[in-house]
């Protein structure tokens, strides 16, 4: 017997871990915690279950009872009537028949491999930008991608894109050489002039000469107006974002600058673009752009749309980058100054690398917005997926079909946008916890 008055205590055997009571573990515990923790909670659970049941009971049979093989809506309905006695089921056959058109527009069927290759290349090119763990060597694909894409999608001899790319090399080399000799600003201006001269006066004749002398990689030409479907959305969205990055960068710097003329111009531009709906800009592209250009210049609607979309997203991009700039501590600017770097050097070497990195989630979000907005091009006669769904409906075989097409289009967009937004959230979390 222990002395009950003593406070000293020594444990002789350790207690083994005991299983928790049933109310604390497993499914019961989970249900209790998450679904029935209070009266209100239980009511919510029941309402939620009812909503889910109501929605699913409407959709599931419709979806899974659908017909996948038929050549027209009426044939589809005949099959359904035969099978179920009514037509309350989906007619997926429209997708079986038209999915290629929805994805690639009127792109010639035997050339579609080119679009697919370009798409795969795009994924490879984007990977190193999005993920640090991807080998840096792939950045070369990223650099080459725009030129390859133009060549693959629009066709023609490879010389055109190659010479344009060469112009960039020329630009870069002359910049490096001039930078050693003079200031960054002068080097930039000088190399820009050299590049422009090359692009405007040398590329055209040279590519023609080379094309006839050495017809290498001569893909069949594809007109812009046959581009459509998902492909045109990707092309417009991607070029819009890529081209708007440098413009947005300059606008953001201009908005931050203490030169008030520059600042006023940038603020005016940004606020104007952000103040009007994209659709008015698209109409400007289709109706008015020809007024603003020298008489006789008529260029491709796709290109005009890309220009407008670029201007549009550059304003939003500028705001995103401005946020990134504002997040940098003032000390970074001061240290760069104290080391004797000039404005452009410190922007390029110190400020931008950091600000852009912080801005990537915002840039991705801008891209998601822009990508969804590319559906607006249907209003100016470009056949994106929604435009094509109208065209398909206009065909007497499929007149009256709605949901199957909308669901397909919605799903394509959802997959793209959802994965991008997951990526941007992941990156945000990483930036918040990362060290450098």
């Amino acid at each position: 017997m222990k002395n009950s008055k003593s406070v000293a205590f020594v444990r002789e055997g350790m207690i083994d871990q005991q299983p928790a009571p049933a109310s604390q573990i497993g499914a019961v515990r989970w249900l209790k915690d998450n679904l029935f923790s209070s009266v209100l909670n239980s009511i919510l659970t029941i309402i939620s279950l009812l909503v889910i049941f109501w929605v699913l009971s409407g959709i599931v049979p419709w979806m899974f009872g659908g017909v996948w093989n038929a050549s027209s809506l009426s044939e589809c309905r005949d099959i359904l009537n035969e099978r179920y006695g009514n037509t309350h089921y989906a007619c997926w056959a429209v997708l079986t028949e038209r999915w290629q058109q929805l994805l690639f527009g009127f792109y010639p069927a035997e050339e579609i491999w080119r679009a697919v290759v370009a798409f795969v290349l795009m994924l490879v090119a984007i990977a190193p930008v999005l993920f640090e763990s991807v080998p840096r060597k792939l950045l070369w694909v990223t650099i080459a991608f725009p030129f390859l894409m133009v060549w693959l999608v629009w066709g023609g001899p490879i010389w055109g894109p190659l010479l344009v790319a060469l112009g960039f090399v020329l630009f870069y080399v002359s910049y490096v050489v001039l930078e050693r000799k003079s200031s960054t600003l002068l080097a930039l201006i000088g190399s820009l002039v050299i590049g422009l001269v090359w692009w405007m006066f040398c590329v055209g004749p040279l590519s023609e000469a080379l094309g006839s002398a050495l017809p290498i990689g001569d893909l069949e030409r594809v007109e812009s107006r046959v581009l459509g479907g998902f492909m045109i959305c990707v092309i417009i969205g991607l070029s819009g974002i890529a081209l708007s990055l440098p413009i947005g960068l300059i606008l953001a710097l201009g908005r931050q600058s203490n030169l008030w003329v520059v600042k006023a111009i940038c603020v005016g531009f940004i606020e104007f673009i952000r103040g009007v709906p994209l659709i008015t800009l698209l109409f400007t592209a289709s109706l008015l752009l020809n007024y603003f250009l020298p008489p006789g210049t008529a260029f491709d609607l796709t290109l005009r749309v890309i220009i407008m979309v670029t201007l549009f997203s550059s304003a939003y991009m500028a705001e995103v980058i401005r946020g990134g700039l504002a997040a940098l501590p003032k000390g970074q600017y001061e240290a760069a100054d104290a080391l004797g770097l000039d404005y452009w050097q410190s922007q390029r070497l110190i400020i931008m690398p950091q600000a852009l990195k912080i801005s990537i989630p915002g840039i991705v979000n801008t891209f998601i917005g822009l990508f969804k907005d590319t559906t607006l091009v249907m209003f100016i006669g470009i056949f994106d997926m929604l435009g094509l769904s109208n065209a398909i409906r206009a065909n007497s075989a499929w007149n009256g079909i709605n949901w199957e097409l909308y669901i397909f289009i919605g799903l394509v967009f959802w997959i793209c946008c959802f994965s991008m937004s997951q990526y941007s959230q992941w990156l945000e979390r990483k930036l918040r916890t990362g060290h450098h």
């Binding site: 889910i52 109409f283 603003f292 008489p295 929604l386």
Partner: protein
Amino acid sequence: MTTMIDPPKAAGFHISQLLYDTRYRSMTIQVIVFLLVMGLGAYLLNNTIINLAAADKDIDFGFLGNRAGYDINQLLIPYSSDSTHWRATIVGLLNTLLVAFLGCILATIIGVVAGVLRLSKNWLTAKIMSFYVESFRNIPVLLWILAFFAVLSEMDRKPRSFRGEDAVNNMWLWDSVAVTNRGTYIPAPIWGDGSALVVITFLLSLLGIWAYGKWSHRRFEATGQILPNFWYKLGIFIVPSLAVFFLLGRPIALSIPEIKGFNFSGGLHIRNSLLALWLALSFYTGSFIAEIVRSGILAISKGQTEAAAALGLRPSRTMNLVILPQALRIIIPPLISQYLNLTKNSSLALAVGYMDLRSTLGGTTLNTTGRELECMLLMMMVYLAVSLTISTFMNVYNNSVKLKER
């Protein structure tokens, strides 16, 4: 020995100073940028003038005073095809503002509900709300507008099916609302003599509620007493207006839609175009607002809830006194920019044939007069003015919040 070195003489003005002297450098750059931009502007303008001359056109807003000659199917102010283009523009603008206003209200309600429910302890509800948010955010709003329009116009509720004893479909809410595939009919007020007085009383009682709130707060500060504010406010809200309403002999009546022949008459007809646009914009924007609300509450609630609980505040008071005021500060700026987006997205009315600013001024007027330049310019300016007005409100609000913070 005060100065050991003579100051290098400021030897006149040197041309290189334009670039290498901080005093002039910024001037130089600004002048260059200004000239470049002006040059670009002049170039575009010059092209425009040449192109206009070639097309035998000029820039003249006089056409706005001409007869429009087309009908608009939804009117907030009197208009007929004999009215001017300017009037048509105003009608369109009002329709834009109407759908934007209704959309902002509904989107806020949906967004707040979804945002709060997404934080709910109920796993199922939270998941349903996540599903809602993720599906609406990640699919283009244009698709949603088309989908809502398709739902509304393809439902099996033809007005004719409401007819007779054995009607297939029924009106809702005590036979006052008819949802059909041709639009929705709701009761409309008929303003009789003296209805103005009722409205004024109602407005005054709103003012009264506000004044009462101030007074009771001051009283609470002075005496520490908490009055049952909600019931008092409800009383002020209802009683005076109702009293005046009955005293004046019920001056406001309701016109209830009724099925007459194959269609409804009476009441207010809300077209499917407006309904689809309104619902799609609200649900789409609501999904963004839900995220804003959720992250606003999350950002504040963590430590603050515990701090408030430690002070002994009840959970409902914690929400009202501690979390909401702070969360609002985070929520409001992005919320306003969502309102801006909604307003701009209302221009997608085009897809369902709703007659908004873009469809009147930027659509029929533009096509019938052939004045692309003027119409587009005017339309952009109007949208810009609307946007700037909204963002001005945002800045005013933001600044007032900031002041309180200091």
